[in-house]
């Protein structure tokens, strides 16, 4: 008991604040600046993905709405597969190609056409732009599964849009 008290009393005297021998703040501030820059880059990147997704939703929504207005239900001839650039063929990007191909194996590139209807054509253009941006993004982040999902959805919407177009078949 006495031993413990004397020992703890002796050791507790070492529990003091000790200033570093040199000012560490400049090095810390430099690291904080680097961290902040990386954070800003990451935020910009996230905003970019959100913009692509938003474009996709707007384009798809506008196209389908336009189609509903026209009630132009025509079954098209086989339509083109979404052409994912082969140079972007990374492990996950390859899945996007395979996935799109699997859903419409009989389609040809000629069918990746622009609808005659101006409203549908505008939506198709938006979807094509979104698809191109997603393919670029996949080249930078070939491991990003969510980009593959977005690309597949974009291409699928593009196909549906063309199928609903009066000039589809």
């Amino acid at each position: 008991m006495n031993n413990e008290f004397l020992w703890r009393n002796q050791m507790r005297r070492h529990a003091e604040a000790v200033e570093p021998a040199r000012d560490l703040w400049p090095a810390i501030a430099a690291r904080l600046a680097t961290t902040a820059a990386a954070h800003r880059r990451s935020r910009r990147s996230q905003i970019g993905w959100f913009a692509i997704a938003a474009t996709l939703v707007v384009a798809g929504g506008a196209g389908l709405t336009a189609w509903r207005w026209q009630h132009a239900v025509r079954v098209p001839a086989p339509v083109a597969v979404a052409e994912v650039r082969p140079d972007a063929a990374q492990p996950v990007a390859a899945q996007a190609v395979a996935s799109t191909t699997a859903t419409a194996p009989e389609l040809t590139a000629l069918d990746w056409a622009v609808p005659d209807d101006p409203m549908l054509a505008a939506s198709a253009q938006n979807l094509d732009n979104a698809s191109a941006q997603l393919q670029d993004a996949l080249e930078q982040r070939p491991d990003a599964v969510f980009l593959v999902g977005l690309l597949n959805r974009t291409n699928s919407m593009r196909l549906r849009l063309l199928r609903k177009s009066p000039n589809a078949g």
Partner: protein, 207 residues
């Protein structure tokens, strides 16, 4: 070696200004690095002191880990809930940074828990020592034993807290403490014997 250098920089704990800290924390969360610098200036001594003791008075390593601790604090600041004092939160984060470093080294072969618990029996007699002798002896302890001794005897942590932080059983923490105290006592006794011999002219300083 480290003892003399340290004594020049040692100062008493400052009373933390909790209310001011909270305002500075809020400004820091908003990205104000000048506010965070004030927090750094107010608390670096306590954080660095604890880290320094945990790394066995290795000044260069302690400075690196102190920097790491403040960078981590900046990154995690938005998660600070103001439920405890900022000084306590920061101090725990600093200690955790040093313990992570300790866990990552794997330089010590951990003794089995049951052996350590068996060794924990009996009391280690009190042994007084000079500050410099104690610091030197603590710095030579095996890392895990040193961490337990510093956290329990110097920083005043409970065995449950230490066991939780170091990922060991409470019994192992007690056993490591007993082991560390025994090694420390032996080192202090040896040091005292050498000093006595030097005084009596039996050995030279170089020995």
């Amino acid at each position: 070696m480290h003892g003399a250098a340290l004594s020049m920089n040692v100062r008493s704990y400052e009373v933390p200004l909790g209310a001011d800290d909270n305002a500075l924390v809020r400004r820091s969360v908003a990205g104000d690095t000048a506010a965070f610098e004030q927090l750094y200036r107010g608390h670096v001594g306590r954080v660095h002191g604890a880290i320094l003791r945990l790394v066995g008075m290795d000044r260069a390593r302690a400075e690196e880990l102190t920097q790491d601790a403040f960078v981590r604090a900046w990154q995690k600041l938005s998660g600070f809930r103001h439920e405890s004092a900022f000084s306590t939160w920061l101090y725990r984060l600093g200690v955790n940074t040093a313990l992570m470093d300790l866990r990552g080294k794997h330089e010590e072969v951990a003794a089995p828990d049951d052996e350590l618990e068996f060794a924990a029996g009996g009391e280690v007699p009190f042994c007084a020592g000079e500050r410099g002798d104690i610091e030197r002896a603590v710095s030579k302890l095996p890392p895990r034993a040193r961490a337990v001794l510093v956290l329990h005897d110097v920083e005043g942590w409970k065995h449950e807290e230490i066991a939780n932080e170091l990922g060991m059983a409470v019994g192992s923490s007690k056993a490591q403490l007993h082991r560390a105290r025994g090694l420390l006592r032996r080192a202090l006794t040896d040091s005292r014997d050498v000093s006595a011999k030097i005084r009596n002219g039996e050995v030279s300083h170089e020995q």
